[in-house]
Assembly symmetry: C2
Homo-oligomer: 338 residues x 2
């Protein structure tokens, strides 16, 4: 399989993106990594690496989407950007998946425009796995769609269920709705309408999930609209850093607490690894005709490698084909809603 | 001043609520605590306590709002509940403030209905202080209003600024808008419209604040609509517990890490105290004609005492009067919006 890697996307591009793709090429010799971006710069990066295998090729793209570019501008004015080029390789059938740590909005917009949505899907959404004490909780959507309707949320439920079953190995995943109360009739109009749609669906719907309960193993999947999902994802990052820094700052104030902190390094490392986004690689944009993995802007080579691994897993397990048949089955349950 | 304390509200009522009110009565001998609820039960609780001062009185209320009662039902069918009775004492001028750890929705509904909103304020909102590494960040609204409009958010900005100045001692507090990007034009329609209103106001508006940046001392106040605010507040609780449990679970696996954890007890205690809602007492419902403090359902006597302390502080500093004059000044800036 061929994976288009946006070599220019992310804070550490092209150095880390090229390195990550090369590692993936070494570990997956039967697959091919297409490095998309400034040919000269990519060539230069490859020159610094040892043992670049043959399954790495370069696809030139003359432009780069800046982090401050509005998504729509990037689509209209930068048609030769590394993001659009990468996406087009998938849209044209020259690659099976795209991996990008660049501008999220531009990647979502380009993917939606060029690959188009899967039959029946109104809007694509991003699904992110959040580590909890009990394992992982898949949150969808975390920011692809900020004009979310209840029917979109239902479709996210279908897609999140399929990826949980076929890529993450969870049988009959429990689907919850992020809400501000546990009772059925709670929440705003959007939540109430979504609750009704999900209750009448063929999903394994377990009801409302409060913010706190995301960590309580109440559901494998928690659905929410993109604005809320994006806020809590970033909030989680901020809070985790704030908590751990407070412990560290306080521990450094005394001799014995300093010793204690040093002895506690292993448990802190376990937590750090668990929370490390690089370990998970990225988050799939589900609902487009093709595989698209959105990576964190700060991705290093390990994150890029893991994102490529995830892209291969999703493509090889034919997640999109399963989404199509799941949508056909779901249609019977909620024809009016769709 | 007289403070109406809902003696029956909360998981630990009436034991902890009565105890908290008695402690407050002892420490504030010039003020009076009106314990509202089942006279017999309150009498019984008082009987178990030593040195109940004279400034504690009982106001009988025959009903209790259950945690599963819908807010509207509680108002219509339970007019003699401890919540409604407490609120009415303020509305009738018999008390200056109400403190309740009972059903939040019922307390908000009763306060809005009986006390009515301050002139010019469309909807009351709850303001909660979130501890960060750098101090505190005031989040408003965290769930009083789940049908929030941009103009409500602007008014929350005015009220949050007043309480920060007159009760928390922050001069010219920086006001931020919770959004999913730092750039001015980012976010959903609600966020974009709110951004414009806030930009044209006389508030010390510092722009968009991402979820992560709540912890970065970018703003003293972060405004958001009630659904999002409630989700992140509860999410914070869940995440903090999950993170600390992971460290503890891992540390208990080895001898030296166990020793390390024991030595690290002081920094963990600092963090625990910092995050302890009981320390802050409760969150004010701002925008009603009277002082209303909403407490956590799990409040103990210390939380109730601190909530009473906060109620006295807000009432004595005439926060509501300052809100009225701040609203008059704000009107000049955004007549169309109001």
């Amino acid at each position: 399989m061929k994976i288009a890697v946006d070599a220019m996307g992310g804070d550490k591009a092209p150095h880390e993106t090229v390195k990550g793709a090369v590692i993936a090429a070494q570990r997956f010799p039967d697959d091919e990594m297409l490095l998309v971006g400034d040919e000269k710069k990519i060539q230069q990066e490859l020159g610094t690496l040892k043992d670049v295998p043959r399954n790495v090729t370069i696809h030139h793209a003359s432009q780069i989407v800046g982090m401050d570019d509005p998504a729509t501008y990037s689509i209209r004015q930068k048609s030769d950007s590394s993001i659009t080029r990468s996406v087009k390789l998938v849209a044209n059938g020259e690659a099976s998946a795209v991996v990008s740590a660049g501008h999220t909005g531009a990647t979502v917009a380009a993917s939606t425009l060029c690959m188009r949505t899967i039959k029946g899907i109104h809007r694509p959404g991003i699904a992110t796995r959040l580590p909890t004490r009990h394992g992982m909780c898949l949150i969808m959507d975390v920011g692809a769609n900020i004009a979310c309707k209840p029917v979109h949320l239902l479709q996210y439920g279908v897609m999140a269920t399929v990826i949980s079953e076929y890529a993450y190995g969870i049988k009959k995943p429990r689907v919850g709705l992020l809400n501000i109360g546990e009772e059925d009739a709670k929440g705003n109009e959007f939540a109430k309408e979504s609750f009704l749609l999900l209750s009448n669906s063929n999903l394994n719907f377990v009801g409302n999930v409060e913010g706190r309960e995301i960590f309580d193993d109440k559901a494998d999947i928690v659905l929410c609209e993109g604005f809320v999902g994006n806020v809590i994802l970033k909030f989680a990052e901020g809070l985790a850093v704030s908590l751990l820094s407070t412990i560290k700052d306080e521990a450094m104030k005394g001799f014995w607490t300093k010793v204690g902190l040093w002895l506690c390094k292993p448990p802190f490392m376990v937590l750090k690894n668990k929370m490390d986004f690089a370990e998970y690689g990225g988050a799939p944009l589900l609902g487009v005709n093709g595989v698209c993995i959105i990576c964190h802007g700060r991705s290093d080579s390990r994150a890029i490698y893991n994102a490529i691994r995830m892209a291969l897993q999703i493509a090889k397990n034919k997640v999109n084909e399963h989404i199509i048949s799941a949508m056909e089955k779901a249609d019977g349950f909620s024809e009016n809603a769709m």
